[in-house]
């Protein structure tokens, strides 16, 4: 299993640990529709399988989300990316980075993995066409060396999708 956290990442604080355990057990009782948590022994990094909602462009397609939690979760947002291959979407870069405000500037500690997942699925579902962001190549080139999307200065210019 690829369960060891990346070396740069600090271990979860006690509060983060307790909260994630609660989120996990709530998820097990009541998972969000269309999502499956792939069980590992690593609380700090979740792999979640997403299935596109019926009747949308992504129906029956499955993708994997990787959710990594910082030491001070939930004060700091989790890092959420699609494990490539990422869905073709105007707000999803080919390296899996997602342009979604709640993952960055609009994060709130009252949000949960579950609520983030629902937002991502709704973003997918409302897509009018399957295409990459217009600046995909430039952005992906700038993200070499495994830079986190949380270090990107996002500009949320389109609220429709």
């Amino acid at each position: 299993m690829t369960s060891s956290p990346s070396p740069s990442r600090k271990a979860l604080s006690k509060i983060a640990c307790n909260r994630l355990q609660k989120e996990l057990s709530e998820w097990q009782v009541n998972p969000p529709t269309g999502f499956k948590h792939k069980v590992t022994d690593n609380l700090q990094k979740w792999i979640i399988e997403v299935t596109g909602a019926p009747g949308t462009l992504y129906a029956n397609e499955t993708y994997n989300l990787q959710v990594e939690f910082p030491q001070h979760y939930p004060m700091e947002s989790p890092q959420v990316i699609f494990v490539p291959p990422a869905p073709l979407h105007p707000h999803i870069y080919s390296n899996g980075h997602i342009c979604l405000d709640i993952l960055y500037d609009s994060w709130s500690p009252a949000m949960t993995v579950s609520s983030v997942c629902i937002s991502i699925l709704s973003m997918l579902s409302s897509s009018p066409e399957k295409q990459r962001p217009t600046d995909n190549d430039r952005y992906v080139k700038n993200c070499k060396n495994g830079r986190s999307p949380k270090e990107t200065r996002w500009w949320f210019h389109d609220d429709k999708v």
């Binding site: 509060i15 307790n18 909260r19 609660k22 057990s25 939930p74 004060m75 700091e76 500037d105 709130s108």
Partner: protein, 226 residues
Amino acid sequence: MVNEESTSTSYWDNNNGGNNNDQGDFECNICFELAQDPIVTLCGHLFCWPCLYRWLHYHSHSQECPVCKALVQDDKLVPLYGRGKNQTDPRLKRYPGLQIPERPTGQRPETAGPPPQPEAASNLFNFGIGLMGGFMPMATTRIGNFSMGFGGLLPSLFNFQFHGFPDATLYGSAPGYPYGGYHNGFRGVPPHGQERPMAREGNQFDANLKNLLLIVGICVVLFLIL
């Protein structure tokens, strides 16, 4: 019998199965634990004070409620004081190493005051009892109590006889000091807002001295009648 038993069984099942809902209403919206030093925003969302403070002052770029994004103002936060626990053990601090100030204290509106003035008849009754109970203390106290006490009695009984009464406030029309409070003092129990009635009484004492004599007379007559 059977029904009752199955009901209680399912009650316990629910309790054990839905373990995360027992305290759900009292969980902090940030750490998801039972709120420590609980505090409620004006929009009604519950947090640990340390959790909310840390979010608003160390992490957030805005002063928004994490749940509903309503504006959060420090002076509008309401602490929740439950029973049996005064202070959090500092060793159990949620965020060791962070400077978290004291939780804001509750804002305390004035007490509601005693119940509304009873009817004249029961007023009279109180008056009589109070007078008897109040005779024992020192003379000055007695006079003070007396003049305060009859303020409650007078408007209802003797209004028509004292058209030119010198000080209208003697009637106890000042807000927040309904007549009932005077009866307290009358019985020798220290009134709640001791300073205020005493001070007022002092101001009016000279002005009322003449009337006082008159009223003592009336009261004696009243007593004889009773």
